[in-house]
C-alpha cells in the first residue's frame, strides 16, 4: 500500500543504501592501502620472482695439456634445450619439441636449477636453428650453451687424465659443503680428480627478464662462468698414444719417465675406455657392461693392480747380496739346471743349466740357481728390507688417486697371518720374484729409476706446471729428490753391467741393434690362470740415463717375448721422434 509511511521508508532506505556503499568504499581504500603501501615491498619482491630469472651457468674447468702443449682435456661449448617451468607443461613441451626436431626426447628430464628443466643436451647446430625458428610455438623453451668436457686423445689417457661426471647424490654429502651442486661436474678419476681443486672453475649466473610466456626479453646482468687454472702434465701425448697402440689387443701397461726428475712421460693401461662417452652420460646398460667387463677397463693397471714381478725382482736380490757383501763380482755358483735343497729340486728356467755363473752373467741370463743360492745366504728379511728401500710395498707419493702398493712377504707376516712357518722354499720363490710377493708395475718402474740414477729417488709426478686463466705459467713443478739410497758404487756398476748384458748377450735379445746403449731386465711372472705375464724394463742411455721404461703385458709369455718386442718399438720411436742428448752410438 502506498502511503506517506511507505514513502518515508523508501526515503530512509535510500539513506541506508548510501551508508552501506560508504562502508564498502572504506573497506576498499583500506585494502588498497594495505596492499600497495604496507605490503608493497613484499609484493614487489614476488613480482620480481615472476619476471627475473637467474640462470646458473655451469663452472668452466681448466684445460689439461701435455708437456708439448697439446690438449688432453678441454671444455667445448655445446647447446642444450631448457624449459623454464611455469611457461608450459613438461609433457606439452616434449611433444612440441619432438615435432619441431623430428626425433624423440629421453624419458627423464633433469632439473639443472630450480624451475629449469633440461629437455635435450648436445644439440646440433641445425637443431638449434630449428628451435630458434619455432620460438613462437615454444614459449619458455630456451637454447642455452654449456661446457662439455672433451678428451681428444680418448682411450689412451682414460686412466691417467680421468674424466668428469655429475656430482652423485652420495658424493653430494661430502662435496655439498664445498659449494658443489648436484648438477655440477666433478673429476671422477685420474688428474681430473686429483687436481680437482686446480681445475674446478667458478660458477657464473645470468639474470634475465622474461615475460609471462617465458620468452627472454633482455639480459639484466651477465656474470660469466670462469676457470682459474689450467694444468700442464709431464705426459707426452704422441708418445702415449703410440704406446697405447703398441699394446694392441693385449692387456697391460707401459710406464716411461725421466728418472733424474721424476717426470712421467707415458702411463698407459690397457684396456681403457672412452671418457667422452662417460661425460655425456652412459645408459645403465652400457655402464654395467663397462663396470662388469672381466678385463676391468676402469683399473689403472700401472698403479692399481698387483702382479708377481718374476725375474725382474732378481735385480733387487742382486743389490742386496752385493751390498751386504755376501757375494762379490768374483763369486760364482754352478748351475746344473736345478738346485737340490732338502731332497727337493728347485729348477732353473733353463733346465740344461747355465754352468758357472757370476752375478753379471746371472742377471744377463736370469739364472735362477744363482739367485737361489744367494737368497739362501741372504735370508728373506734382508731382501724385504732392500725392497722397501726402493719403495716396494710402500704407497708412493704420486699425483694420481687410488694408487696401491704391492706386498712384501716376511717370515713374521707368514707366522702371524697364516700361522705357518717360513720354509726355505719360500725364500727360493721370493728370490725369483714368485710366491707371495706382489708388486704394482709402478713399483718396478721406480726400482728401475732408482738403479738408473744410482740411488737418487726423485718424486714421481704428472704435474709439470700450473697456468693461470690467461695461460701464463704460475707454478713450475720442479724435481724433488725424495731420498737417496746409499749403495756401494761397485754394486751399481756390476748391476748395470749385468743389465747391459741382458740386451747384448742375454734374455733381452729382442732389443739388440737399438742405436743407444741400453740396460734392461726381463721378467716372467708365472700365472696359474693362463699364459705367463711378461715384464721388460730398463733405461737408456746407460752412461747418463734419460729415460726409464717398463712394459708389462698380461699373458705376454716370457719376458724376452712380447714385452721386449714392444719395448724395442717404443725405444726406437722415442729415439727417432724425441732423441736423447748423449750416449747415442
Amino acid at each position: 500500500m502506498w502511503d506517506k509511511e511507505t514513502a518515508e521508508r523508501t526515503y530512509h532506505r535510500i539513506g541506508i543504501l548510501g551508508w552501506i556503499l560508504f562502508a564498502f568504499l572504506m573497506g576498499l581504500f583500506l585494502r588498497l592501502w594495505y596492499l600497495s603501501v604496507l605490503q608493497g615491498d613484499w609484493y614487489r619482491e614476488r613480482s620480481e620472482r615472476n619476471w627475473v630469472r637467474i640462470i646458473p651457468l655451469q663452472a668452466l674447468r681448466g684445460n689439461v695439456y701435455d708437456c708439448n702443449g697439446k690438449i688432453l682435456a678441454e671444455d667445448l661449448p655445446r647447446f642444450r634445450l631448457v624449459l623454464l617451468e611455469g611457461s608450459m607443461k613438461v609433457e606439452e613441451a616434449r611433444n612440441k619439441v619432438e615435432k619441431v626436431l623430428g626425433r624423440g626426447l629421453g624419458s627423464e628430464f633433469r632439473e639443472i636449477a630450480p624451475g629449469e628443466i633440461v629437455l635435450l643436451e648436445d644439440l646440433s647446430l641445425e637443431e638449434v636453428i630449428k628451435v630458434e625458428e619455432a620460438q613462437g610455438d615454444l614459449p619458455g623453451v630456451v637454447v642455452e650453451s654449456y661446457p662439455l668436457r672433451f678428451y681428444p686423445a680418448s682411450e689412451a689417457f682414460s686412466h691417467v687424465v680421468g674424466y668428469v661426471g655429475k656430482v652423485t647424490s652420495e658424493e653430494f654429502k661430502s662435496l655439498g659443503p664445498l659449494g658443489y651442486e648436484v648438477w655440477d661436474r666433478v673429476g671422477k678419476g685420474g688428474v681430473e680428480l686429483f687436481y680437482e681443486n686446480l681445475l674446478r672453475g667458478e660458477k657464473g649466473y645470468r639474470r634475465i627478464e622474461v615475460d609471462a610466456l617465458g620468452r627472454v626479453r633482455r639480459v639484466l646482468e651477465n656474470h660469466p662462468a670462469r676457470f682459474e687454472n689450467s694444468i700442464v702434465l709431464t705426459l707426452d701425448r704422441d708418445f702415449q698414444e703410440y704406446c697405447y697402440g703398441l699394446l694392441g689387443n693385449h692387456r697391460g701397461t707401459i710406464i716411461i719417465g725421466k728418472p733424474s726428475t721424476g717426470e712421467v712421460l707415458v702411463l698407459v693401461s690397457k684396456p681403457g675406455f672412452d671418457p667422452n662417452d662417460l661425460v655425456k652420460g652412459l645408459s645403465t646398460e652400457k655402464w654395467t657392461k663397462l663396470t662388469q667387463n672381466e678385463a676391468k677397463p676402469f683399473t689403472n693397471r700401472a698403479v692399481q693392480a698387483t702382479y708377481s714381478p718374476g725375474s725382474i725382482f732378481k735385480l733387487l736380490v742382486a743389490i742386496a747380496g752385493l751390498d751386504e757383501g755376501i757375494i762379490s763380482a768374483q763369486t760364482t755358483f754352478f748351475c746344473p739346471g736345478f738346485l737340490e735343497y732338502n731332497d727337493k729340486h728347485y729348477y732353473c728356467w733353463n733346465r740344461t743349466g747355465h754352468g758357472t755363473v757370476n752375478v753379471e752373467k746371472a742377471i744377463a741370463h736370469s739364472c735362477n740357481v744363482f739367485f737361489y743360492n744367494l737368497a739362501l745366504r741372504l735370508g728373506p728379511e734382508k731382501i724385504a728390507s732392500y725392497a722397501q728401500k726402493f719403495g716396494l710395498g710402500v704407497k708412493p707419493d704420486f699425483d694420481l688417486p687410488g694408487v696401491k702398493e704391492g706386498f712384501l712377504p716376511t717370515p713374521n707376516w707368514k707366522r702371524q697371518a697364516r700361522r705357518e712357518i717360513w720354509y726355505p722354499g719360500d725364500t727360493l720363490n721370493l728370490s725369483i720374484g714368485q710366491g707371495y710377493l706382489l708388486v704394482t708395475p709402478f713399483e718396478i718402474y721406480r726400482l728401475l729409476c732408482g738403479i738408473a740414477t744410482r740411488g737418487k729417488i726423485y718424486r714421481p709426478h704428472l704435474l709439470k706446471g700450473v697456468l693461470d686463466s690467461k695461460g701464463r705459467l704460475i707454478k713450475d713443478n720442479r724435481a724433488v729428490l725424495e731420498r737417496e739410497i746409499r749403495i756401494k758404487e761397485s754394486t751399481w756398476n756390476l748391476l748395470i753391467n749385468g743389465m747391459k748384458r741382458v740386451v747384448t748377450q742375454g734374455t733381452g735379445y729382442a732389443c739388440r741393434g737399438i742405436p743407444v746403449e741400453l740396460a734392461a731386465k726381463t721378467g716372467t711372472a708365472q700365472n696359474p690362470h693362463g699364459k705367463d705375464h711378461s715384464w721388460f724394463g730398463g733405461f737408456f742411455p746407460v752412461e747418463n740415463p734419460e729415460i726409464t721404461f717398463l712394459v708389462f703385458v698380461e699373458n705376454g709369455g716370457d719376458g724376452s717375448g712380447e714385452a721386449a718386442h714392444i719395448a724395442n718399438d717404443l725405444i726406437r720411436w722415442f729415439l727417432e721422434k724425441r732423441g736423447v742428448e748423449r750416449g747415442r752410438r
Binding site: 556503499l21 576498499l28 588498497l32 592501502w33 600497495s36 608493497g40 620480481e48 610466456l213
Partner: protein, 365 residues
Amino acid sequence: MGEDKVLVAVVVALCLVGILAVYSVDPMRGEGWGVRSFFGRQIIWNIAGWSLFLFFAFLDYRFLARGGWLFYLLMCLSLGGVLLFGTGDETGARRWLFSQSVQPAEFAKLFLVLFLGFYMNANKEEFDSYALLLKSGVLSLVPVALVFVEPDLGTSLVLLITWLGTLFVCGFGGRKLGVVFGGLAVLGSSGWLFLKEYQKKRIMAFLNPWKDPLGSGYNVLQSQIAIGAGGLTGQGWLSGKQSQLRFLPARHTDFIFASFCEQTGFLGGALILLLLGVLVWLSVRIARNALDLEGKIFASLIGVVFGFQFFVNTGMNMGIMPVTGIPLPFVSYGGSALLVNLAMVGLLYNIANSRRKEVGRRRFG
C-alpha cells in the same frame, strides 16, 4: 556546482582514466591508432556512449518508463537469442550476438533497471506485499537465469542484486527481506552442485589462492602482486612488469584496475576508487532528492548496479572478492558495457536535472 554537473565531470574523468588505462596495456599499441587497437576502439565506444548519454539525459524519463514492458520483452528476446544464435568466446561461454559485437547481458542491466522502476511504480499500492515480492521476483529471475546459463555468473549476479536492491529501496519489511535472503542462501549453497568446474575452482582459489598459484589461484595472486608492486606512487607510466610482461591476465578488461595500480600506485588506484565512490554517492543523493518514485527507484538502482560492479571488480582485483567476470564501470575495455553505463549516467543526469528544473519552476514560476 549542481550535482548534474559534478556527475558529468566525474564520469568524464572516469572515461579518460579508462582510455589511458586501456592504452597502457594495449597489446596492439605498437600498431598505432587504428581500429585494431583496443584503446582506439575504446575511444569510438566512448563517442557512441556519450551520444547515448545525451539521448537518455534529455528525453523525459517518465516517458521512457512507460515503455517498461517493451524493455522487458527486448531483454528476454535478446538474451534468448544469445542462447539460440549466440557466438561463443574463448572460454566456451555464449555471450555474444552479431558475431561478437553486442553483449545482450550488458544491456539487460539497463533494461532490468528501467523495467523494475516502471513495474514497481505501477504497483506501488502493493508495496510490502508477498504478492508483489513474488511477481517481481519471478519476472526478475527470468533474465537472471537466462544470463546464468550462458554462462555468465558475474552479470547474472548483477541482475539479481538489482532485484534485491529494488526490494530494499521499495521498503519491503525486514522479515520479507530475511525470507528472500534465506531462500537465496539455500539456493546458492545447493547451486554449488550446478556450478561449472571452473567456477568452483575460482571460488576455491579465492579462499586460498596459494594452494594452486600457477593454476586456479593465478589470477587472484598476480593481480594482488601487481597492485602491491605498484607501491605508493607506482612503477611509472607504461612500465609495470606484471602488466607489460603479461603476467597479469585480462589486463585490459577484468584486471585493468590492477594494471593501472601497478603503474600509478596507491595514488592512481585511490583516484579510481574516489571517482567511482563519488559517482555512487551522487546516485544515492539523486535518488533521495528525486521528485517521484520512478526517479527514486531508477537512481538508486543505478547506484546499486554501479556500486556492486565497482566493489566486486576492485574487490577481486585486491583479492577480497572471488573472481567473477565483472568489468570495472567506464574503465574496463568493452563496448556494450560502456554504452549501457553511459546510458544509465544519462538517466541519472536526467533525474537530477528535472528536479532542478522543477525546483526552479516552483521557485520562480
